[in-house]
Homo-oligomer: 362 residues x 2
């Protein structure tokens, strides 16, 4: 089985590490010369719009999957003529556009904060009048890691906001006062079977995920699964999907979905019976899904900008280091570590040790 992956970053790299033992081979299409997944398969070094090279990819693989949601619609449509693509074009179309995504949530009765489409400064001002401040203006497409968004707190923030985000189609969302952020990693097979990992508590800083802790019997697990199932079924989705929620007043409000393996699921490599990466591959290749059961307690820490000294990380009990092999750069995700433990207190002591190392590097 040969899998084509659009994008060759760390998610592609971890897919290949999970799929190689299953006898799968990987071809990555990525315009970056130094794509960090490339060392684990073939690398077609081409732009995502390059039909000649997309065709070359399609001709040599059994199916194509995606490492990121901002894949151009044309790329997906072109590939779909020649080879199965998972998740399907419609899933990607919805997930890459915040407005379509929010509309879908609303149609499926998944709670969302008030929002409005914003295509001009005038529409922004109307939306602010209706939704109020504070609110968040986000570009409909191409946002990630806190990029492409702007918090509007006072009327003075509103005047230049639309232009500052590039005068592109946007969405204004009510600023959600949440008590916590959680994500549900779900997987759906080609036969419609679904499995869900335990809800993950996430901590962001500057819009970038820093820490994910897998929860123990979270009271909102069933609700999150219900909302996510509605989306998966509606899209006839195949593969892993991450659904990010805000915890508000003891309930959940939808934030966004990611139609792919997700940073908040990296702990599953060591922390679950079958990882999100293996389960994504099982789903798209039609294999039975693996168990999403947690092995003890687990948490994941992201390394942003640089990876702490590996010898010191490796000295921490049951700490599993993932260095993506990417050049260090401020604000860039270059690695992570997962710690496992039998109980939550020990887990937090291990996390404290990692924090000390990271502080020493900054």
């Amino acid at each position: 089985m040969k899998i084509g992956v659009i994008g060759g970053g760390q998610l592609g790299r971890m897919l290949a590490l999970a799929g190689t033992p299953l006898g799968m081979k990987f071809v990555f299409l990525d315009p970056a010369q130094d794509a960090c997944a490339a060392m684990l398969g073939e690398h077609i070094h081409a732009d995502y719009h390059d039909h000649e090279h997309l065709r070359q990819l399609a001709d040599q693989v059994d199916m194509v999957t995606f490492e990121f949601e901002s894949v151009p619609a044309d790329t997906v449509a072109f590939l779909s003529q020649f080879v199965p693509v998972y998740p399907c074009a419609e899933s990607l179309r919805i997930a890459r556009d915040r407005l379509l995504e929010k509309n879908l949530f609303r149609n499926l009765q998944v709670p969302v904060a008030p929002y409005a489409a914003v295509d001009s400064q005038a529409e922004l001002e109307q939306a602010v009048a209706s939704i109020g401040l504070p609110a968040v203006l986000k570009t409909r497409t191409l946002g990630y890691d806190g990029k492409g968004q702007k918090v509007l707190r006072a009327p003075v923030d509103v005047s230049a906001a639309f232009a500052e985000l590039g005068s592109v189609p946007c969405i204004l969302e009510d600023f959600v006062e949440f008590s916590g952020e959680v994500s549900l990693i779900a997987v759906r097979g080609r036969d419609g079977a679904c499995r869900f990992y335990p809800l993950v508590h996430n901590t962001h800083n500057d819009g970038i995920l820093r820490l994910s802790i897998a929860s123990e019997q979270h009271p909102l697990q069933a609700l999150a699964e219900q909302y996510t199932s509605a989306v998966l079924e509606h899209l006839d989705y195949v593969g892993v999907m991450a659904f990010e929620f805000f915890e508000v007043d003891g309930g959940l409000k939808a934030n966004e979905i990611a139609p792919r393996v997700h940073n908040s699921g990296h702990w599953t490599i060591e922390g679950a019976e079958c990882s999100q990466f293996e389960n994504h591959l099982r789903a798209i290749t039609g294999l039975p899904l693996g168990s999403t059961r947690k092995l003890g307690e687990s948490a994941m820490v992201n390394f942003i900008g640089c990876v702490p000294e590996i010898a010191r990380l490796a000295a921490i009990a049951d700490c599993h280091v993932h260095d993506y092999g990417k050049a260090f750069k401020d604000g860039r995700k270059v690695g992570h570590a997962t710690v496992r433990s039998v109980d939550s207190d020990t887990l937090h002591r291990q996390l404290d040790e990692i924090s000390l190392l990271m502080a020493a590097d900054n």
Copy 2:
């Protein structure tokens, strides 16, 4: 960190899968065009005696390690001039020669069955007279998976035996009536720190390992660690070593050592906190060693000749499939599966399911 590996088979492949997350890169030197590890790094396609290509390997890596023990002495000596090699030349010299190995065990007071060097048919007859029958005649070097050996049960077996093994230097060993076969996977760091995995019960068939079950508090664990420590210290060994023992009369008799990661340690990928592969890499690169603690119960089944249908294996609870990507061939190790469980009864039910699949394929 860039690691050179002599040999590019499944052990090299699993080393690369373990080392890639640590940011390591791999270069494999292997004469086989279809070396199954090659897809996870660079492949220098050359003979083990080819100094030009060995030099090319040495020039681009930080250290060299070995995937098999039958590395020509000259290869090790040549590489050692340019780059650190782990384990050291002396460890390889001993481990690839059954006579030197047995002499070392005897010198270190590790119990061994009676044995004698055999360099001719006349010496074989003397040895049989002294040791008695049944006995096993083995070539001193290049034996693996039951190859290069012959069981002598009756005087009629003796006459042609030396010629049948190619008239090469041999060793005659008393035939050990054992109650079980166990192996100890040990790792020793550059700083001399040692760790040991739980003893593994092994089942062979036609000289090939079929099943390994990690034991729970085996009564001979301490004794096995004592014997293995003596060998590791004597050789100033660095890396993973497997020590195979026979269980005889409630004690242990040494069978052989393998100066490398070992088939009976494959269960550690999913079944231990840190796998034998990661620990070998931690040891040779000077990182702190990882924990050898077992996660619940674990067992590994080898796939010889062919891999059963992956969809059916993947449907078994907590079953982890490893397809080495090698062409199927009778008698060839082409994959394995590890099952994990919370208790031994469940583990045996999972193993029974795998056995049924394998029987269906034969």
